[in-house]
Symmetry: C2
Subunit: 286 residues, 2 copies
């Protein structure tokens, strides 16, 4: 069932609650791919009813980012969701979410602001205000849907860590379920932004996962110095790659490491053909 | 019933929810007086079950403010609540609310940040970060108790406006009920901070309500120029009064007015014996 208004969603969920059914939420910006579908499958396994939100959230994009050209494929998204047995696809307008004619800024809107320590690193360094926008819309969706469980992909590792922190800090009564990255056979992590790439760009983009897998195998062979592990990346990078960051940090707290251990995560952000791609890998797990 | 942990509160409320009982929350910092009791009475009238939170919230006090000396009278508070038929008094420790040993700053905690426009005026000008602290703890209490209704006093007018805005902006599924200011016969608005005052100070403090009532009666007699209305205050002020602000603004949006109208509110903040006191009055209502 495709719903566009908060009121309709709340009415439907109220009925489910009366029947004591559990509810799962999969927040997405649409342009659904197999990564999203893995979240939806997990939600279907876990909950009696599943809501997928499909909303390209303006307040998490910077002024020079790809909000306008971000892929919007609602018809296809709805078909994929129906096939998977999703109960509600919630696709609100920006006016529905933020109020008619509301100027979208800190001057006029209440924001949820994650801790500076979690924000002023990795993706947050180049994407000022991004995680404020993410937390704000996610908390809004939580309050609209009031799910028991919400499902997020490990692909956006910093995002999941920040959302888990928000849930703890604000006592949000929802369990966050984190699902593994889904990759193409080539190793490329699925992303809605992959469709911006040409065939050549897709080849160049493989370097992200290659660098991460190589770091992991070096770690498994006994190299633990973070600097040494990071240096292994430079063999892979060419002039087609505009590296934004490559870091090895604690997978729960994002704290820097000098030596990698089984609690470490390696994260990379790199532009290929001007498209900003991210990927990550846990060093301690198979 | 006096409870100190989030877990106990949630368990009790879960039982009420199973019985389809409505829940009201009265957030307080304790030191309960007749102003709080009017909120509690309203909550008892409105809801099947009433929770009073009693927590002096560290993150809404500035470094030079009165957090340490703020009155703490839990035993008396509990007695007053029992007499009024309150079902739960929730009195958590700071560790329970913010985590054991957690440093209380934007570096480490997720904050709820109300819009700059609502914050950078009136009390917010002198109390940097105050309303971030208020919104954060209120949203936490909302998430812990998940009430149907929450009750706030008009005494803290800017606070209620900001909390209503937060509820709209973040789609919080709770109805905010605003209750009128309770005054002593002298006109003095009740406040936990009144107990800092000497007898002479209490006399000097009467000037706040006198100024506001005089502005209202001038308005009723046809004076609408905000500047002219504000000037009427100076007859009342002596060297015992350290005026922080006197403003006449829109009662819903806090927007400045040039001419007062029936949607206007007059607000004052003034120190007497070093004690910061606030008061306000609607111009358009009897």
């Amino acid at each position: 069932m495709l719903l566009h208004t908060i009121k309709e969603v709340r009415e439907q969920i109220h009925k489910w609650r009366k029947d004591e059914l559990t509810v799962g939420l999969v927040p997405t910006m649409g342009a659904l791919h197999a990564g999203h579908m893995s979240l939806i499958k997990k939600a279907k396994e876990t909950c009696d009813r599943v809501v997928v939100s499909d909303f390209v959230n303006p307040i998490q994009f910077g002024p020079s980012e790809d909000f306008d050209k971000y892929p919007r494929t609602l018809d296809e998204d709805v078909k994929l969701c129906e096939k998977e047995g999703v109960d509600i696809v919630f696709a609100p307008s920006a006016n529905e979410m933020y109020g008619e004619g509301q100027k979208l800024s800190n001057d006029n809107l209440t924001y949820v602001c994650p801790p500076f320590f979690y924000v002023n690193t990795l993706c947050g360094k180049s994407r000022t205000g991004h995680f404020d926008g993410v937390c704000t819309v996610v908390l809004k969706l939580f309050n609209i849907v009031q799910p028991d469980f919400a499902f997020f992909g490990q692909k956006d590792a910093q995002q999941v860590i920040i959302i888990k922190k928000m849930v703890r800090d604000l006592n949000v009564p929802i369990t966050i379920v984190q699902c593994p990255i889904v990759r193409e056979e080539s190793g490329l992590a699925l992303s809605s932004r992959n469709q911006y790439l040409t065939e050549n760009g897709r080849q160049d983009a493989l370097v992200l996962s290659k660098i991460l897998h190589n770091i992991k195998s070096c770690y498994k062979r006994g190299i633990t110095e973070v600097n040494a592990l990071k240096e292994t990346a430079y063999n892979f990078l060419t002039n087609k790659h505009d590296l934004e960051y490559l870091e090895i940090v604690d997978k729960n707290t994002l704290e820097d490491k000098i030596k990698a251990d089984n609690e470490s995560i390696a994260l990379i952000a790199c532009r290929v053909e001007g498209v900003r791609l991210i990927d990550n890998i846990y060093l301690g797990e198979e």
